[in-house]
Amino acid sequence: MEKQEFTPKIVGFLCNWCSYTAADTAGVSRLQMPPSVMVVRVMCSGRVDPLFVLSAFLRGADGVLVAGCWPGQCHYQKGNLHARRRAAMLKSIFETLGLEMGDRFRLSWVSASEAPRFAEVAKGFTEEVEQLGPSSIWDEVFL
């Protein structure tokens, strides 16, 4: 029963120019979305320092979503491509150290016009994280 009550806390770093707008439109259009994604608006997915992601996880986030413009559509030409490399690096670190954060981290491309896609990403990722259960770091004192 407990599992059903669990609403994951997902920190979403959304690009101002696309994913944030998409999320906004999704809200205005009243698309059904779980209330799990807590949005941090950033000017570009390339602004997301790996430390932001690590900090969110270590402070107890059940999932971290970084969303930006599709490759080729970055407002700053290439920020999202840098973000992609960093995401790959983070995943590699998580994998090598056998950390659950690897499955709880997601990078998605959502353009400004893709409000339904944003709702889908939020829903899909929330379901994935729900399956994984609460983060084991939630009440760790050694961080």
């Binding site: 690590l54 992609r84 690096m89 150290l97 997601r106 009440d139 961080l143």
Partner: protein
């Protein structure tokens, strides 16, 4: 086949002789090398020598000593950070120190101008505590015996025993040491660049063309690979294990201070950004029922992994200085290996190659974004 110069002297004498002649002839203004600092235990530090007298037998300079009191890559960066060197300076450094310097030059933290880089095939270095306790001297005969046979002494840094890049990449002159059975009487200097050849001109010896990668070196590769696998397999994986390992961290940030790749003059983890407001501590306390202080030890280590693993040269300074005995370097080398493989990048290999996180390909890593 690389060009070389065979000198009929032992390796240490030959290198000292080379450096002495460089200083005497005024072809270099100074030599950066390890040297005695005096003291009962025979303290050793990197020093900038200008006196040729330091390079006589039993002089103050110890250019081939298997010891690393600081990563010389970082020291070369400090020497050349504000401006390139005004006149030629020779530096005798280990391969990993050279790699670290190349990584720093890529980050605009130093300049290769006017530097004559001398390195050697490397048999590893002893941990700092061996040097601090005066144990270096008694181990030296054993060390050189092992180097001759192309094996590694058991007491050198674990990261050295697991090091696969013991042949320097960007040295002007490479001193052949590993697997050279006659290094007490003969020494081969490989002249990898025109600059290297130019500086040894007039030095007594016979020219030759030879392979640097001998059978012994290939064998050493195999032994190191086996140990590396064993060492990496010993790293505990999983969140709980990681928290246990890094839970020992006392937050002294010594690993960051000695790391040549950690060059930021103000580290995020030392900044005010990393200090929390009281209400954050309060809410954490309320939620967790306790909070370990200093905070952010696991965050610091994971954050540093995210920042430096792509360029980690595996020198082992971090493990050596850790007062809490965390195998920092083993963890960083293991993670570094996977991140570097991901981008097909070898830190310190090529000064013109861009750091993977500073560049990208339009079409790549499609599976990362979902």
């Amino acid at each position: 086949m690389p060009e070389g110069l065979k000198i009929n002297k032992g390796a240490e004498d030959a290198v000292r002789g080379l450096l002495r002649s460089l200083l005497e002839s005024g072809r270099v203004n100074g030599v950066l090398a390890l040297g005695r600092t005096g003291g009962a235990n025979g303290g050793v530090a990197y020093s900038l020598f200008t006196d040729p007298g330091a390079f006589v037998a039993d002089g103050a300079a110890l250019p081939l000593l298997p010891f690393m009191p600081a990563n010389a890559g970082g020291l070369l960066s400090r020497l050349t950070l504000r401006e390139p060197l005004a006149g030629p300076v020779a530096a005798v450094v280990k391969p990993c120190e050279l790699r670290a310097f190349i990584e720093l030059v890529k980050r605009s933290q130093g300049s290769l101008d006017n530097l004559l880089l001398i390195s050697s095939t490397c048999g590893g270095v002893y941990p700092l505590d061996v040097g601090a306790n005066g144990g270096l001297k008694e181990r030296l005969p054993r060390y050189w015996e092992a180097v001759k046979q192309g094996v590694l002494d058991d007491d050198v840094r674990p990261t050295c025993r697991a090091c696969m890049q013991f042949i320097p990449d960007n040295a002007d002159i490479t001193v052949a040491l590993v697997g050279e059975e006659d290094l007490d009487t003969q020494c081969t200097l490989f002249l990898n660049t025109e600059k290297g050849a130019e500086f040894v001109e007039g030095l007594e010896g016979t020219s030759l063309s030879d392979e640097l990668e001998t059978e012994q070196i290939k064998r050493s590769h195999g032994q190191r690979a086996a140990y590396r696998e064993e060492l990496f397999a010993g790293v505990e994986v999983g969140m709980q294990e990681l928290i246990r390992t890094f839970g020992r961290c006392i937050g002294c940030h010594a690993c960051k201070t000695v790391c040549p790749i950690c060059y930021c003059s103000l580290c995020y983890f030392d900044s005010q950004d990393c200090e929390y407001l009281p209400e954050i501590y309060e809410s954490e306390l309320e939620r967790k029922g306790g909070l370990r202080l200093p905070p952010n030890t696991t965050f610091f280590q994971l954050g540093r992994l995210a920042h430096v693993s792509v360029s980690c040269v595996g020198c082992g300074m971090c493990t050596d200085v850790c007062p809490a005995d965390i195998p920092v370097s083993t963890i960083f080398s293991k993670v570094g290996a996977s991140v570097q493989a991901l981008f097909d990048y070898q830190p310190g290999k090529d000064v013109t190659e861009e750091i993977p996180l500073m560049t990208f390909e339009e079409e790549e890593l499609a599976q990362v974004a979902t």
